[in-house]
């Protein structure tokens, strides 16, 4: 099973460990992983800003990058949702290019959903001792119905306790460019999220989307919390050894 790993631009730039963790998890599930070197961004910033033409161009580039893969796996619900749900919408006419994008988009998965539903990973290789809480990022949750997969995998980790927070399905306020255009509302929503995280007494907040995580971590630190860990679910499941592996 040839699986293309789409790392996402935020993970590529800000937290390579997420990419390595995803790689390790896919390998643990017995996949042959390819990482197309020319991959860039899925095009969400343009698409969500209403620039559909750029969205189409980027979708075509993406489909070329990952041509020949049985599946494409993305450690992000929003990028996977962009590809799987929104790419096909960008091509109303059934031309060749659109067809190629549509077919590959239908075989694109968010990482944890892929591990559970397609690859059947029985035991995550990671190790984590302590209490965490899980934030359901909006796009993964509502566009791809990613809800049980990360919890199923986390539950298979012996030392890990999941304590659900109030409003785990409520938006953290990131919303891509929304965080910059409407900073005050965005941080107000983040504050609600931080309070919910703190109320669980968890030592770490975990999610499947790095965008939300950078936003939540940024707000936690600005509010003076230097201890709560903010982790991508792949990092937890792979045991953060991914991070060490490439150093």
């Amino acid at each position: 099973m040839r699986v293309g790993l789409f790392v996402t631009c935020i993970a590529n730039l800000m937290r390579p460990a997420v990419g390595f963790a995803a790689l390790r998890l896919l390998q643990a599930a017995g996949c042959e992983v390819v990482v197309p070197p020319g991959q860039t961004c899925c095009g969400q910033p343009a698409y969500n800003s209403g620039d559909f033409e750029t969205g189409r161009k980027i979708a075509c580039k993406w489909a070329q990058d990952f041509a020949g893969c049985d599946y494409v796996v993305v450690p992000s619900g929003s990028c996977a949702g962009m590809i799987r749900v929104h790419y096909p919408r960008l091509f109303a006419e059934s031309d060749m290019q659109g067809e190629a994008v549509r077919q590959l988009a239908a075989r694109t998965w968010e990482l944890t959903a892929f591990l559970v539903e397609v690859a059947g990973l029985s035991q995550p290789p990671g190790w984590y001792q302590g209490k965490i809480t899980y934030h359901d990022s909006c796009s993964g949750l509502r566009e791809l119905m990613v809800k049980t997969a990360p919890r199923t995998l986390l539950a298979r980790m012996p030392g890990l306790v999941l304590e659900e927070m109030d409003g785990c399905e409520t938006c953290c306020g990131f919303g891509g460019t929304f965080a910059v255009k409407f900073g005050e509302i965005s941080s107000h929503l983040a504050d609600n999220k931080c309070a919910a995280i703190h109320a669980t007494g968890a030592q770490a907040v975990v999610a499947g989307d790095l965008g939300c995580l950078l936003h939540i971590e940024g707000r936690l630190r600005r509010l003076g919390d230097t201890t709560t860990q903010v982790l991508h679910v792949a990092e937890v499941l792979a045991g953060r050894q991914g991070e060490v592996a490439w150093k």
Partner: protein
Amino acid sequence: MEVKAVEFVRKAHEALHNPRLQEALRRTEAKFVQGRREALRHLEDPDAVRRHATAIRDTVLRQLDAWLIHFERQAQARGATVHWAEDGREVARILTDIARRHGVRKAVKSKSMVSEEVGLNAALEAAGVQVVETDLGEYILQLAEEPPSHIVAPVLHKTRDEIADLFARHHGRPRKTDTAALTREAREFLRPHFLSADMGISGANFLVAETGSVLIVTNEGNGRLATTLPRVHVAITGIEKVVPTLEDAATLLRLLPRSATGQDITNYVSLLTGTKQAGDADGPEHFHIILLDNGRSRLLGSELEPILRCIRCGACMNHCPVYQSVGGHAYGWVYPGPMGSILTPLLAGLERATPLPNASTLCGRCAEVCPVNIPLADLLRELRHVQQVRGLRPRLETLSLRLWRALVLRPRLYHAVMGMAAWLLTRLAGARGRLCRLPGAAGWFAHRDLPAPAGETFLAAWARRRGKP
């Protein structure tokens, strides 16, 4: 009602710093969100009902002209007069004509969003007609001279203490703070108005084509008084409110109160059919129905048509994290929240509401709860597209998007820039492991730190590990 949607950011700022409003919003959220969840549980298969309701609305929208004509014929056959209004000015003209013809000096109103949409009270008062709002919430707002902040709970932003002060000032009676006592006092002041009014004005939740009826859903008895006591009744509503049959209306009624206030049924469902006939105990002698277009027909057949399915339940705003944070006034017009962020630009003009389509994280919770499955996030994105095409976005935003696009489509350049950015950000963060400011990125750093990156991009590290350049 004046359109102030361009002031969204400033008004949102004020709302976020208004502790009383924040408290009120928290309370309402708890009540409406939990209420809806509970009430929907009482339906055997809520999603099937929602699909059915969606199909009903779409059936109508596909042939809106035919259904409206059918409605008009049925209404006329029962003695009602149907008027068609292109815009708010026509509504005002038609209504003042009716008032003049019937020598109306006072009108009692039961809630109608359309009358807010077209600023009807001002027009009527200019024509010498006294207008009295009779929904408790709208009455309070009329005394306070404020616009509504929610389509179902218009006075949501006010505390009981504020209302007590307002009543004491306007009614000249001892100040009371007990809700029941306040309601009784309002009732005592409103009752004489019902009896002395020449005209009753209402909206319509649905127009039933089969019977030519105007259907009104209320929780207060005022709706019945306003529509039956005065000798003239005028119902004003948007053209999209028509449904084919009573059966269809019943299906929608299973969802409307549940989605709106978490009630299985409302206190009153009134079906107003025609004028008072010989032998009838009550009802108006003259029944006029004004159907307003105001840009709605333009949406038919467009990508944005699904917004016309809206049955004005308010579930999208009750569940929207942005609405929950800033309340309705920040949106600057009669329709707030996600549905308002679509309706305001479409009805009042995109130029007059530029921030609204963007004032959403696109989290999708609104669409998740919409009883008629309006894909609200997709429609917001579609409006952003229209803004792009019409060049209504700020230059800086357009420029940065263009720059970013140039990079994304050129992988070598993109990866070189990302590599430099990773290196630079790591250096700037230093031992602290995070950045607290960065020139040119105030939008982020005004509110948040940025965790430092690892110094090298994933793709560079991967290539290095695999022994490639």
